[in-house]
């Protein structure tokens, strides 16, 4: 944890994320009613409405703040479920091997190779619109990626001595997976969770932008849906779609930053690369030399 706090990327990414989480939790209490008709439609930013008004006369700031709640909560729920299913399928395939692995790997690969968006659209179009449906669709189309990552890690872990020791000691497979294998891939699971959350937020915004969510709810995706429906581009009202886009981008960027920081902590080679290249640069040595020698005999 100390190492995490001293990493600039982790600190910066974490700060953005905490800001948005706070905004989602308590923000709606401080802004106007996001659905209320509070002013003339399509007004540019002013003192009354810091980010202007939408085509329906709603406050853009209020909508952006209120949208965070639904978008972030669905993102986190989907992220968690995707990793849970991925861990279950991945460890089963990786640990048992043989025909179990063959069958599960084929299923994982089929889901991986199918383009996500058309499948999501078809699923979402048949389900009744609402946050539950969106979450279900995202879980169905997103689990395969984390299952693949977990499977390859489980494959390498099951060959380790401590797993063999547990097997010889007569432990049941379920216990070996839960006690020996899963705890040893905590960092992988955390990074898969962050990646899956990022995917879920982006995909949810995309689906709702297409009008496949509940269009009367206030989320980041429906904000953008209404912005295009109210001809934001034609009327030049950039303030109706820029704040939401920036919010999505900031959240996604912070998640990427946190994930990179975790990677660097786990893999010192990545961390030192920049310092190494800088140190070489100071001494006017190109890092491409096969064996850079930093200290030269004087």
């Amino acid at each position: 944890m100390d190492a995490l706090l001293s990493n600039r990327k982790a600190l910066f990414g974490g700060a953005i994320m905490v800001t948005f989480l706070l905004m989602a939790l308590v923000g709606p209490c401080f802004v106007q009613d996001p659905k209320g008709f509070v002013g003339l439609p399509l007004q540019p930013p002013s003192l009354d409405h810091w980010l202007g008004t939408t085509g329906q006369g709603q406050d853009v700031l209020a909508q952006t703040v209120a949208g965070a709640r639904s978008s972030l909560s669905i993102g986190l729920i989907v992220g968690f479920s995707v990793v849970a299913i991925g861990a279950l399928v991945g460890t089963t395939a990786g640990y048992f091997g043989g025909w179990v692995d063959d069958v599960l790997s084929t299923v994982i690969n089929v889901f991986l190779i199918m383009p996500g968006l058309p499948l999501m659209v078809v699923l979402a179009a048949y389900l009744p619109p609402g946050p539950g449906s969106i979450a279900l669709v995202l879980i169905l189309t997103g689990w395969s990626w984390s299952a693949r990552v977990v499977r390859s890690q489980a494959l390498s872990l099951r060959r380790k001595d401590f797993v063999a020791a547990a097997q010889v000691a007569g432990e049941r497979p379920l216990r070996i997976i839960a006690v020996e294998i899963l705890p040893n891939m905590t960092s992988l699971l955390v990074s898969a969770f962050i990646g899956a959350t990022n995917y879920a937020i982006a995909a949810q915004v995309g689906l709702e932008f297409l009008g496949l969510g509940e269009v009367s709810a206030v989320t980041w995706g429906t904000n953008l849906y209404w912005a295009t429906n109210d001809a934001a581009l034609l009327t030049g009202s950039w303030w109706t779609f820029v704040p939401t886009g920036l919010a999505v981008a900031l959240v996604s960027f912070s998640l990427v930053l946190i994930n990179t920081a975790l990677d660097e902590l786990g893999n010192p080679r990545l961390r030192s690369e920049r310092a190494f290249v800088q140190a070489l640069g100071l001494r006017a040595i190109s890092p491409d030399e096969p064996t850079p020698v930093v200290r030269r005999p004087s």
Partner: protein, 325 residues
Amino acid sequence: MKYVLRRLLFYVIAAWASVTLAFFIPRMMPGDPTSTMFARFKGKLDPAALDDLRAAFGFTDGTLLEQYGVYLGNVLRGELGISIEYYPATVSSVIGNALVWTLVLAGVAVVISFTLGTLGGVLAAWRRGGWLDSTLPPLFVLLGAFPYFWLAMALLFVLGFQLELFPLGHAYDDRIAPEASWAFFSSVVGHAVLPAATIVLATMGAWMLDMRNTMIAVMGEDYIKLAVAKGLSPRRVMLRYAARNALLPNVTSFGMALGFVVSGSILTEIVFSYPGQGYLLLQAVQSQDYPLMQGLFLTITLAVLGANLLVDVAYAWLDPRTRQG
């Protein structure tokens, strides 16, 4: 050969799985699938034609297994039913018309993006820590954080609506007849530039970072040191020795990324009202045109599977190790 056959088997399974998914999704949903699917046809079709359409989707009398058999036969013959939105055109003809535009737009964009991204990755890895390496990767990470379609909206807004440098949508100027003339051709190119640029911008980063990382790994290999030691020109070492070997793993990720590119180009087409598969998909969603939606799902999925198969064949041809094993 064994490798290609094994991959072929996998794609047959994947194709069967997607066709089966398209069959079961409407049947697993709450409510009566036939009435959801065909309610919008009421008044447009006479009852006999409606029965034909039900048959096209396998909604016939009989057990689920029999329905499935009828449906599979129809899909194999390319009979995907009739579109509601474009009634009385068949789904296959509507999709066929739009397919050309998607292939032109996404095809050109993918090739440009892969080439530029790979070259960028090679140069960034070669001058590691140089200006290219320290500016482009963070920039692309930042760009990648924005939703794909939002970038398209922002570009269209600034370059199309505000600066009026590019047309605002559609594949060509309505005033020009689609014929083999210079005016038509230049109009098509002019309309494709901005949507294609969006796809390139949004997908290039991933390929660049991939290529950069594999390049760095390859550059640590002994044969690179040997090539440098025997005095080959840096250019030759970079392109003939390092880049060539680093390209191989990237070819497989090319196949994997295709699905992502297709999903992205669907959203891009929607923003630019570009008359391809994506725009059609949006229209199908908005008018609840379920036959068209399902046809599009099948076409897009099968196209991505086919492209992946081609990539695998190319991989087997490029990498001799797969042929031995």
